[in-house]
């Protein structure tokens, strides 16, 4: 069973708490993404699951057994490192065979399994090359082949795509998801890129400063962020957050509304004040960014807060400096407590 369970997992380095009482359940065959900015503790959490880092507190369970004191080599996991960590002195074939060698798999079986793994990742012609002779994308696949050759209980991946160029990244993203489906494998995937998280994960676990912010399927995390941090982190362009004072709801509230739920209208009756509420307000157009398939209209509010609105290209654009009315889709306005950032309602 490829289930992984973290209970109260904490890691403290001297006086810095890198991971703060993390509770997380990863189901068998689930693709779980650990998402967060640099230093949020996601890599530390992954390393603790792998056994490369000792826990200060808490329990980690893989399958049915508690693995706190089990060495990495006995945890039956596979890991893909950000740097790939290929053995530079061994050929691709020997790299892939390495995990089988350490387990004493007989030679014939080793060769067969390694070749199968290599073939499934399109590496068949490269088996006798050394990692130094391969391109970045090829090296990444060797790292993957080495991971899948053993059929472990779960795969751990630490930002495996971050060293690839943008185009390759997009292509490999899809291949990874397909690979996971095919292998029916449990994958715990660490990244700081929310696009990767949204497109790849069955569920996303967002962390910040060692604390788990929210866990849920991508759509849920997107549509109902649990707090301001999640709200601002997920989504491109990021969610607009407007202090309550500007819309007449007082300083204890912050409202959030995604750019696609903001409509820009130049339809303003002359000379009248535009009322500010959670349904809309007035603003001045600051910058217009045209992306080809859509437009980002960046407006400035009276207190210099920016609000970004996404506009289709079939609508005529406003001009810079124009005073416009912003209409918020009432059903899509989120409310957060200004002090704690937590979602209200």
């Amino acid at each position: 069973m490829g289930r992984v369970s973290l209970s109260g997992v904490t890691k403290q380095f001297d006086d810095v708490i890198a991971v703060d009482h993390l509770d997380l359940e990863v189901a068998d065959r689930e693709f779980l993404v650990l998402l967060g900015p640099s230093g949020c503790g996601k890599s530390t959490a992954l390393r603790m699951i792998a056994g490369l880092e000792e826990l200060t507190e808490g329990t980690i369970t893989i399958g049915d057994r508690v693995v706190n004191d089990v060495e990495p080599k006995d945890r039956d996991l596979a890991m893909v490192f950000q740097s790939y960590a290929l053995y530079p002195h061994l050929s691709v074939r020997k790299n892939i065979e390495f995990p089988l060698r350490t387990r004493g798999t007989p030679k014939a079986q080793r060769t067969a399994q390694a070749e199968a793994a290599a073939e499934s990742l399109g590496l068949d012609g490269l088996l006798d090359r050394k990692p130094g002779q391969l391109s970045g994308g090829q090296r990444q696949r060797v790292a993957l082949a080495r991971a899948i050759v053993r059929d472990p209980q779960a795969f751990l991946m630490d930002e495996p795509l971050s060293n690839l160029d943008a185009k390759l990244r997009v292509q490999t993203r899809a291949e990874l998801v397909e690979l996971q489906r095919r292998l029916q494998a449990t994958v715990i995937y660490v990244t700081h890129d929310q696009v990767e998280a949204m497109t790849m994960g069955d569920r996303i676990a967002i962390m910040n400063e060692g604390v788990l912010q929210q866990v849920g399927p991508p759509q849920e995390v997107y549509a109902r962020p649990a707090n301001l941090f999640v709200a601002r982190f997920i989504g491109t362009p990021p969610m607009n957050t407007i202090p309550g004072e500007l819309i007449g709801e007082g300083p204890s509230v912050v409202i959030g509304v995604r750019p696609e739920h903001v409509r820009v209208s130049r339809d303003i009756p002359r000379g009248s004040e535009i009322p500010a509420s959670s349904e809309g307000m007035g603003a001045t157009v600051a910058i217009i960014e045209s992306l080809g398939h859509e437009r980002h209209v960046i407006c400035r509010l009276p207190d210099d807060t920016n609000v970004i609105a996404r506009q289709g290209i079939d609508v005529p654009p406003p001009a810079m400096g124009d005073t416009v009315r912003l209409d918020f889709d009432a059903a899509q306005v989120h409310r957060f407590d200004a002090a704690t950032g937590v979602r209200a309602g």
Partner: protein
């Protein structure tokens, strides 16, 4: 002359000018002596210092290189190298691996392990010659009390001098191998751990291959040093007892210093050539045989 070629001339002139001091030193004190050495070896020096020497040509080479004393000196030198190099590198590696951990206070241990780099061959030799001394030294008290005492013991003397050499070079070897160890990326070990490799497997499959360039360098340089060792022989055993520590360098010194009869530069020259050829030959063999198994990063 165009200004361009004038500039080029000036630059070349400056280039040569900058090289002149070094070139003079090299020519006078390295190349000229090197070539002259071959010439010197062609002359037989008389037993009495004021008589002219006789040109004997290649006969002198043949006589000396075939002589028993040379053969035994050669054997002693090779034995010395075998006693020093593997032990030195093995011990240095052990220290480097032991100190390659992230423990509190590891810096103190690393400083201690490097400490012998402050000792010279002479200092180490003096210290150990006292330690080996049956009256003043501590080894007898520790139970190591062979008869005859170590320094005068034909069977043990060479090993004793080898021990001193290993100790004195430990600091340098440690620093070198440590630097090599620290250059190995940590995530290789981590990947190996997750892949199921225990500590022994990680050592032989990752540490040693990744360290191989440094190890190779240490072996080559260490061998050359072993063949050229002199100071510790001179201070501890003076080539004895009964020539059991009479390595080639010491024979050469003997011929120059007049300890085996009057100074015999001709013989010294032949021995020096022999030493040079053997050292060069060994280095070439090492490069051919060992370097193939060294893994160099791209």
């Amino acid at each position: 002359m165009t200004s361009r070629s004038r500039r080029r001339r000036r630059e070349a002139g400056l280039g040569y000018l900058l090289l002149v001091p070094a070139v003079i030193i090299f020519v006078v004190f390295i190349f000229y002596p090197f070539l002259r050495n071959f010439q010197l070896a062609l002359y037989l020096n008389p037993p009495f210092p004021n008589l002219p020497r006789r040109w004997v040509g290649l006969d002198q080479y043949r006589d000396i290189l075939g002589s028993d004393s040379f053969i035994s000196s050669l054997k002693t030198t090779i034995a010395f190298a075998f006693l020093t190099v593997p032990a030195g590198i093995g011990m240095g590696l052990a220290l480097a691996v032991a100190a390659n951990r992230k423990l509190r206070g590891i810096g103190i241990y690393r400083t201690i392990f490097s400490s012998t780099v402050a000792t010279s061959v002479a200092v180490a030799a003096v210290i150990f010659s006292m330690l080996f001394n049956p009256i003043v030294g501590l080894l007898p008290w520790l139970g190591v009390n062979p008869n005859p005492p170590i320094i005068e013991n034909p069977d043990l003397a060479l090993a004793a001098v080898a021990l001193v050499t290993v100790w004195q070079t430990l600091g340098l070897t440690f620093i070198l191998l440590s630097a090599g160890l620290q250059a190995i990326p940590e995530d290789l070990y981590e990947a190996a751990q997750v892949d199921g490799a225990g500590a022994t497997v990680r050592f032989w499959r990752i540490t040693i291959p990744m360290l191989s360039p440094t190890l190779f360098f240490a072996v080559v340089i260490g061998s050359i040093h072993a063949f050229q060792s002199f100071g510790q022989i001179d201070i501890i055993t003076s080539g004895g007892p009964f020539k059991h520590t009479n390595v080639l360098t010491y024979s050469i010194y003997g011929e120059l210093n007049g300890t085996n009869g009057p100074p015999n530069p001709g013989k010294a020259a032949v021995l020096a050539i022999a030493l040079f050829v053997i050292t060069l030959g060994l280095t070439v063999v090492q490069m051919r045989v060992l370097e193939r198994r060294v893994h160099y990063a791209r």
